[in-house]
């Protein structure tokens, strides 16, 4: 089994790499690359993302053929893919961070700034929040409802089809914190920084 973490200059991915290697040990091969052939031959792909929606989309587009390869992997071949943080947000049709930017369009919807209720709520939403699991998701196997996950973001994904939502959190409003649509998984939180329970989610994804 080979799991590829897509390295597309999206900022700091060391923690993602460390956590996947910790979970995989010697049983699963973890590759960190933007090589299109290596991505194509993977069993699973992880799409991390830090910084702004625009900077991540730009970084994806900067690597010739990467978006096509990811489309082929996740949409045509329906192989499992996990987006983390902005990696999840890029599933949307459109994002409004910095400027209006087109996303991958895998899960119809938009990414907008969290409403901070006139400054009543601090942004970024940083820290540990309890997830409310709203549908059975394979990555939540043996994960208790109301588990704590680590978040750091100012924007939220608002999908059109609410049935893709697998968990939400309460902040200034109800915020989508994970989605599952067939083979496509995404978490707004950082499983790689969510302690033992986060590692369990990574393990669930690896063992899909």
């Amino acid at each position: 089994m080979k799991v590829t973490i897509v390295d597309y200059n999206s900022g700091n991915i060391s923690s993602v790499i460390n956590s996947f290697k910790e979970v995989a040990r010697d049983k699963v091969n973890i590759e960190v690359t933007s090589d299109l052939n290596k991505i194509k031959s993977s069993d699973k792909v992880v799409l991390p993302g830090q910084g702004s929606f625009k900077s991540c989309v730009d970084a994806l587009n900067n690597i010739n053929g990467l978006v096509d390869t990811l489309n082929e992997f996740a949409i045509t071949n329906k192989k499992p893919l996990l987006g983390i943080c902005v990696g999840l947000q890029m599933f949307a049709d459109i994002g409004y961070e910095e400027t209006e930017t087109k996303g991958l369009g895998w899960i119809s919807g938009k990414v907008s700034k969290i409403d901070n209720k006139n400054g009543k709520y601090k942004l970024p939403h940083i820290g540990w929040n309890q997830i409310n699991i709203v549908k059975e998701s394979k990555i939540y196997k043996n994960i208790e409802n109301n588990s704590h996950m680590y978040f750091v973001h100012s924007y939220e994904f608002i999908p059109k089809d609410k049935t893709v939502i697998s968990a939400t959190i309460d902040y200034s409003s109800k915020i989508v914190c994970s989605v599952e649509k067939e083979n496509i998984f995404g978490t707004q939180f950082h499983p790689e920084k969510s302690d033992k329970i986060g590692l369990k989610i990574i393990n669930n994804f690896i063992n899909l």
């Binding site: 060391s14 830090q50 400054g119 601090k122 940083i126 820290g127 750091v152």
Partner: protein
């Protein structure tokens, strides 16, 4: 509901912990990796390393420490001390730090904050504000508290938010090391002025001080060093105490 965070801070000098946990079963009391692991296993919401290495030739020791720690601790890791440039930040992030705190460099040139938050995202840029009261205002100190800049700390906090900082780590130089509690006025004034989270630091001597930092100072997170180091309280005890006072924490 978003929980308030407890962040133990370790002072690291030449790659070794200076003030650390004084546990008998520690194999190596000076090893920052082992101490960080104890904190994260004990429920710390984040770990903070403050590099106080004075000489330039030993500066690289922190990179090795961060790299090893990030392979063992799976909670957020913030690293500060001696961070001068976008390149320094890049190196720390590549070694596995999740956030980098900038102090003197942010005061000298706020473009470092602008540039680094654009390049890496605000989520990993923490500006550390060291402030001391001077009559009716607080002034920013740099170089580990040695230089008074005369800059108004509250205004500076706002400027850092506008420059792209994702969080502010606010330390009262009057209280640091005194164990008499945070400077609540300072925390509250800054927290009310900005819309980004504030981490309170400097002066914790008991668990009620942590409660005050959150309830009265309006801090999103509380940072402490010595109360955890010498085994006076464990992180777990601190969390249980906060919880008993009605403060939401991750337990």
């Amino acid at each position: 509901m978003l929980k308030n965070r407890i962040i133990p801070c370790l002072d690291v000098k030449n790659g070794r912990v200076v003030k650390g946990i004084n546990f008998v079963d520690l194999k190596d009391a000076g090893d920052p990796v082992e101490q960080a692991k104890i904190y994260s296993d004990g429920g710390a919401d984040e770990i903070c390393f403050l590099d106080i290495t004075a000489s330039n030739e030993n500066r690289d020791t922190i990179y090795d420490v961060v790299e090893k720690t990030s392979k063992k601790c799976f909670v957020p890791l913030t690293v500060g001390g001696g961070v001068r440039s976008v390149d320094d930040i890049n190196k720390l992030l590549n070694c596995g730090a999740d956030k980098v705190s900038i102090n003197t460099a942010a005061v000298q040139n706020s473009e470092v904050v602008v540039d680094s938050s654009k390049k890496f995202g605000s989520q990993c840029i923490v500006v550390a504000i060291d402030a001391k009261k001077n009559e009716d205002r607080w002034e920013i100190f740099t170089h580990g508290g040695r230089n008074n800049t005369g800059i108004n700390a509250i205004e500076f906090a706002k400027k850092m938010e506008d420059s792209g900082a994702g969080e502010l780590l606010v330390t009262s130089m009057d209280r640091d090391g005194t164990q008499v509690g945070y400077d609540i006025d300072l925390m509250f004034k800054i927290s009310s002025k900005v819309n980004i989270p504030v981490i309170a630091s400097g002066g914790v001597g008991n668990l009620d001080h942590l409660v005050d930092g959150i309830k009265l100072g309006n801090a999103s997170a509380v940072l402490a060093a010595s109360i955890f180091h010498y085994g006076k309280y464990s992180v777990k005890e601190a969390k249980e105490y906060l919880n008993s006072k009605g403060i939401p924490v991750r337990i």
